[in-house]
């Protein structure tokens, strides 16, 4: 019904793929299998992907939930400007990173998962989404003291000004006025 934000799902997938790639790489290096250099690359690539994908982007509508401690990552990722803002760039980066993982058995799963994440990022980019950092709000949401204490009411209640109200001894009849709102003892 409403607009689906594909980038959020792609972000979860990319983070999970980064972790899978990292784990596969560690296993490949530790076991000293054949082609373990690809596993070493996978460790580095996995760490890079995790760092890039850890800060969640801001939602278009609604409240965005941050991941724990993501503020420093947000600052780092934000500093790359359009490279990280644009999802086309991310899609191609992930597609490029995942290819060498396919050459070794331990990292092949991370490669496939990162490829899927790259496709979803491409879909998000085609729909015009981009990454917005979640930054803490600068101004406090609610002022602690209500405004009315600093700004007294500008208009007096509906009654004539003081000069007219002051009863002049010579003109008692003229000083009387009719209350516009009926006043009763108990409401």
């Amino acid at each position: 019904m409403g607009k689906i934000e594909w980038a959020m799902w792609a972000n979860e997938q990319a983070l999970a793929s980064g972790l899978i790639l990292l784990t596969g790489g560690i296993v490949g290096v530790a076991g000293q299998f054949r082609d373990w250099q690809f596993a070493a690359y996978a460790v580095a690539a996995g760490v890079f992907v995790c760092l890039l994908e850890y800060p969640r982007g801001k939602r278009n509508k609604g409240t965005s939930v941050e991941r724990t401690g993501q503020y420093c990552f947000t600052v780092c990722v934000k500093s790359f400007g359009p490279l990280t803002r644009n999802y086309y760039v991310r899609a191609f980066i992930h597609a490029g990173i995942c290819v060498p993982g396919g050459f070794m058995l331990a990292t092949i799963l991370g490669c496939v998962c990162l490829g899927i994440a790259s496709l979803i990022y491409l879909a998000a980019a085609i729909r015009g989404e981009h990454w917005e950092p979640i930054l803490p709000r600068k101004d406090s949401a609610r002022k602690p003291v209500a405004d009315s204490i600093n700004r007294p009411p500008q208009n007096p209640p509906p009654r004539p000004p003081a000069e007219m109200r002051r009863k002049r001894a010579e003109d008692l009849e003229g000083a009387a006025y009719v209350n516009p709102i009926p006043v009763t003892a108990n409401e």
């Binding site: 019904m1 689906i4 934000e5 594909w6 299998f33 496939v112 998962c113």
Partner: protein, 557 residues
């Protein structure tokens, strides 16, 4: 605040007992299968070829069988509603366990993901071993076609079903995080519906028959001497007792694939769940007439509907689907009025918050600003077609089964309790409930007008029947810079019970504890997480003169 063992056991004991049972079942199954493959004579040669990877992969597969079976059961909501409704069948402790069905589903899902990871890693090691330790002696045991075959080729040929299963599981798992469910529920719903494909491919996966066992152990004891072999295997000792020391074999070893047992585990729950979905689809196709639409302050719309053969208990919820708004979206709403003998309509109160409710509200009530420009005409109101699925059970149904209940509502979370109050208005004597503490916290004062009539009517009725302390009402307005007074005279019972600010829960619990000593009080919360966490913590602590507080939480998604 100190944790009280008795309160903790009353609140958390049942859940943790089921958790322990489930963990125990998984552990037992894992160990049993592991030991079977480690020591079993029929797997002797296979074990020699594959090593520990065989045992771990088979053990995790059996745990996966169990969890794939259990994961579907908590989602059979109609079945759970029936279990909850039949009081003679289940005790209150068991019904409280049903509140945690979604948590159990998540636990089984997480177990499936974890053990799939273990299973995949073990099978990757197996594939490498199949390739590297290609067996010339027992060619039928091999999966690789020749020694040193590229493991990736083996995956693509024999293991393709496994690859597809992992990909589907990856899609389902990444779309199930809390963040995605809250923001883009459709992604979660549609990927989760891929479970059908998952189960079908799972049944095909176990037919692969890559792992074989030896059928003729008596005729060919594993490790026995063969005619053209000069010495017995030197690795005999590691793989358990080999019976055939020094004896010659009568015949060649014969192997046969394991018979698949996944279908035994999975077919029952799968059929049950599919039957339940079919039943719900048929039930929701019967027509629903919209009788009244009322607009309330603070973006709330009340909807009264009529449906044939619709029976509900207070506290239950229904799921609405409006094809004119969106064909695939289903949204749950708690009933605020159940059908009774006197009145057959049932009602919901819905808050206009997201795009579905906005569009739905537009269809029900055209914009009043647009109407002022048109000459007032009596028009036939054409309401949109609606599908109602339900009713489904929820924890709030238990309010009547405690002698003393505390109901805490936050904002629109008052809806299950509104239904409870409607039912009490009809007659309170037939229930076990003798005292109800009702705390309603709202941001704005106008929200109380949603149910002001109902609260005052109930208050008046209870006064007239001389049980004024049956209902203890406390209304709180949490935002301090709005209106703070209910001026209407007919709502005077509410204005005298209105308090500004947030409630002080500890004091409230102490008061309830002192006036209801040695009783079991049911605490029902339907509201924001902060409130429910505080209440949960207070229920587990111990300062209340022997009163036990049992916590029941209504969850929104």
């Amino acid at each position: 605040m100190a944790l009280s063992v008795r309160s903790w056991v009353a609140n958390e004991g049942g859940k943790h007992f089921v958790l322990l049972l489930w963990l125990g079942g998984n552990t037992w199954l894992f160990m049993r299968t592991f030991l079977c493959y480690y020591y079993g004579q029929q797997y002797h040669y296979l074990h020699k070829m594959l090593g520990l990877g065989l045992c771990i992969s088979r053990a995790s597969a059996s745990v996966l069988n169990l969890n794939c079976c259990l994961v579907l059961l908590p989602m059979c909501r109609t079945l759970l509603t029936c279990l909850r409704g039949s009081h003679r069948v289940t005790s209150r402790k068991a019904r409280r366990l049903l509140d945690k069905s979604k948590t159990f589903h998540v636990a089984c899902g997480v177990a499936i993901c974890v053990f799939s990871a273990v299973h995949v890693s073990a099978h990757l090691a197996n594939i490498v071993n199949f390739s590297v330790r290609y067996s010339e002696d027992f060619p039928s045991l091999n999966v690789a076609r020749y020694k040193g075959e590229d493991p990736r080729l083996i995956i693509l040929t024999t293991g393709i079903t496994g690859v597809l299963l992992v990909l589907i599981l990856f899609l389902m798992f990444t779309a199930s995080s809390y963040c995605i469910r809250v923001s883009n529920y459709e992604i979660f719903w549609h990927t989760h519906n891929l479970f059908v494909v998952f189960y079908v491919i799972l049944m095909l996966h176990v037919l692969g028959g890559a792992l074989k066992y030896q059928t003729n152990i008596e005729a060919h004891p594993p490790g026995c001497l063969r005619a053209n072999q000069s010495s017995p295997d030197p690795t005999r000792e590691e793989s358990g007792q080999a019976l055939g020391d020094g004896r010659s074999c009568k015949e060649e070893a014969r192997f046969q694939p394991n018979s698949p047992e996944t279908w035994l585990w999975v077919s029952g729950p799968l059929c049950l769940y599919c039957a339940e979905r079919l039943y719900r689809y048929i039930r929701s196709n019967s027509p629903v007439t919209i009788v009244t639409v009322v607009r309330h302050p603070c973006d709330v719309i009340e909807l009264r509907m009529l449906k044939k053969d619709f029976k509900a208990h207070p506290g239950q919820y229904i799921v609405l689907n409006c094809p004119s708004v969106s064909s695939f979206e289903n949204h749950p709403f708690t009933l605020t009025a159940c059908p009774t003998e006197k009145k057959e309509t049932f009602g919901i109160h819905l808050r206009v918050v997201g795009d579905w409710t906005e569009r739905f509200a537009e269809l029900l009530l055209p914009d009043p600003r647009a109407e002022s420009e048109i000459l007032p005409m009596v028009q036939q109101r054409r309401y949109p077609k609606l599908h109602v699925d339900g009713p489904f059970g929820s924890p709030s149904e238990e309010v009547f089964n405690y002698e003393v209940s505390l109901c805490v509502a936050g904002g629109i979370g008052v809806t299950p309790f509104a239904c409870v109050l409607h039912t009490l208005l009809d007659g309170w004597r037939r229930f076990r409930l003798r005292r109800l503490y009702f705390v309603w916290v709202c941001r704005e004062l106008q929200s109380f007008y949603w149910f002001a009539e109902l609260l005052c009517a109930l208050h008046r009725k209870l006064w007239q029947e001389n049980i004024p302390d049956y209902l203890n009402l406390q209304l709180y307005v949490s935002q301090t810079d709005g209106l703070q007074n209910i001026p209407e005279e007919r709502y005077q019972p509410l204005s005298s019970r209105l308090l500004i600010g947030r409630p002080r829960w500890k004091l409230l619990f102490e008061e309830i504890g002192k006036t209801n000593k040695h009783k079991r009080v049911g605490v029902f919360c339907c509201g924001p997480k902060g409130i429910s966490r505080t209440l949960h913590r207070l229920c587990n602590s111990d300062r209340y003169s022997g009163t036990t507080f049992e916590f029941n939480k209504e969850s929104f998604s």
